[in-house]
């Protein structure tokens, strides 16, 4: 009943990521807006995880994070959306991805990306048979084909402190005192995204330093995810 779920813990920060699958009827194989809705990530920052968050509709941070996760999924190429297609032009899977933050201690982006990738690697889709004449859709819960995840993007966040010191993997306290921030998402030796939302201006070599460290970390984190997933029985 508990669909593929992973919990990513970065020190005191804990995020849970769970997938739900649904079947969506519609166009496939076309790069239009509708097809892009095949995965719907949603980040929840509830008052449970920190006193900073108020009850009510998702705040700015949660919405920005959800959008970041969405962009990441679509542009990193870790899932091939063609794989989610069951019947071209008629039926395809939709992945509902819920990222729930349980304990907030800064650097939520890294935790979310880790949890997301690990949960995707843990996902299995049952076989679907469609009766051509009646249009009946039957899912066979006993057969499971794992979702093919081509790559493992890993995010590394840095904050700039005092205008010239770079700290990697900041805690909540450090984030509050930061004068700037940089986030690099890397996969193997490829860069997926770089995000520097204002803050202290940085020199070229500082950004390159961040990128190098992010590339190193992405290899370690990818290995950690693979080792963990191998050790569970499916």
């Amino acid at each position: 009943m508990f669909e593929p779920a992973t919990e990513a813990k970065l020190a005191d920060h804990c995020t849970l990521c769970v997938h739900r699958r649904g079947i969506l009827t519609g166009q496939a194989g076309q790069y239009n807006h509708y097809v892009w809705d095949k995965s719907i990530p949603n980040v929840e920052l509830s008052p449970l995880c920190s006193p900073n968050f108020r009850p009510g509709p998702p705040g700015e941070q949660a919405q920005v994070l959800s959008q970041n996760m969405d962009d990441l999924l679509k542009t990193s190429g870790c899932i091939n959306f063609e794989d989610l297609c069951i019947c071209p032009g008629k039926l395809s899977w939709v992945l509902h991805i819920s990222l729930v933050c349980l304990d907030y201690d800064g650097n939520i982006m890294d935790a979310c990306v880790l949890a997301l990738v690990a949960a995707l690697k843990n996902t299995c889709l049952p076989a679907v048979t469609v009766d051509e004449e009646t249009g009946d859709i039957k899912t066979d819960p006993t057969t499971h084909t794992p979702l093919s995840v081509a790559c493992c993007p890993v995010s590394t966040s840095f904050i700039v402190f005092d205008n010239n010191i770079l700290l990697v993997d900041p805690t909540n306290e450090e984030e509050k005192l930061a004068t700037g921030a940089v986030t690099v998402v890397a996969e193997g030796s490829n860069l997926v995204s770089i995000y520097k939302p204002g803050g202290t201006p940085l020199r070229d070599d500082q950004i390159e330093d961040c990128i190098d460290r992010a590339l190193e970390r992405s290899l370690e984190a990818a290995r950690l995810i693979d080792d963990t997933l191998c050790s569970i029985d499916r």
Binding site: E3, R20, G22, V100
Partner: protein, 249 residues
């Protein structure tokens, strides 16, 4: 008719339990750093997280402050992945609001609110996986979280559900048994003084059967209390390195 599948002739329930047998309970206190008190509880397949923040200054409108008591603010939410079909609204739907108000009423009666006038206490409960007994697991988890936060209470608050199937009272129902349409009695009690804090019964139940079911649920609550208390005391003894704690009855 439903009773025939839910309780077999040999007296076993659909998941193999006997009628008065509880589901496996596992819990851990102090799982979060941010919250003042937190707990994670599993009752069978129902998994619940509770976090307590406070007592702290009233957030929002000062007019809500109670001049002589603690204001308890509860929020009950079910994760979108907690049920078989994806839940569209984690909080704010009627069921969640009903649960929220039940939790608030339960804890208003048990927490020593006179000790903290004009301040607020937040209790957040998140259901990660729902397999029946959501209210019960929420109350039990919230009790543990309140203990972890050091909030003074009259006693543990333990909740359990029960029903009447084929002339047999059963306790601690799972989702299948709850949705079968039979009567459901939910009680939250103070186990040591055997006092009922919250009682709810829905669907039809013959008055002759009610006291039997309530007695069984009370016993179920005391059993849950024993399980929780045993582990809590063991952990405390370990932390304080005492051989045993002084118990006052």
């Amino acid at each position: 008719m439903a009773g025939m599948e839910l309780l077999s002739d040999q007296g076993f329930r659909i998941d193999g339990r006997k009628p008065n047998e509880l589901r496996r309970i596992r819990f851990k206190k102090g799982v979060f750093r941010q919250a003042d008190g937190s707990a994670y509880l599993e009752q069978g397949n129902t998994k619940v997280l509770a976090a307590v923040y406070g007592p702290h200054e009233i957030r929002g409108s000062r007019s809500k402050a109670l001049h002589d008591k603690l204001l308890i603010n509860c929020q009950y939410s079910m994760a979108t992945f907690s049920t078989q079909d994806r839940k569209r609204r984690p909080r704010g739907d009627r069921k969640a609001q009903e649960m929220t108000s039940h939790l608030k009423q339960t804890f208003d009666a048990v927490v020593l609110t006179e000790l903290y006038p004009k301040v607020q206490l937040d209790i957040f409960v998140e259901v990660l996986q729902s397999d029946g007994g959501n209210y019960c697991a929420s109350v039990n988890a919230a009790t543990l979280a309140l203990m972890d936060a050091g909030i003074p209470m009259k006693d543990y608050v333990i909740a359990c559900s029960g029903s009447h199937l084929r002339d047999t009272p059963i306790v601690d129902m799972n989702n299948l048994e709850e949705s079968s349409g039979g009567a459901e009695v939910v009680m939250a009690v103070l186990p040591r003084c055997e006092q009922i804090v919250f009682l709810e019964m829905n669907s039809r139940l013959h008055e002759d059967h009610l006291s039997g079911v309530m007695d069984h649920v009370m016993v179920g609550c005391k059993d849950i209390f024993n399980v929780l208390n045993q582990q809590v005391q063991d952990e405390l003894c370990q932390k304080t390195q005492l051989d045993k704690l002084v118990t006052t009855g």
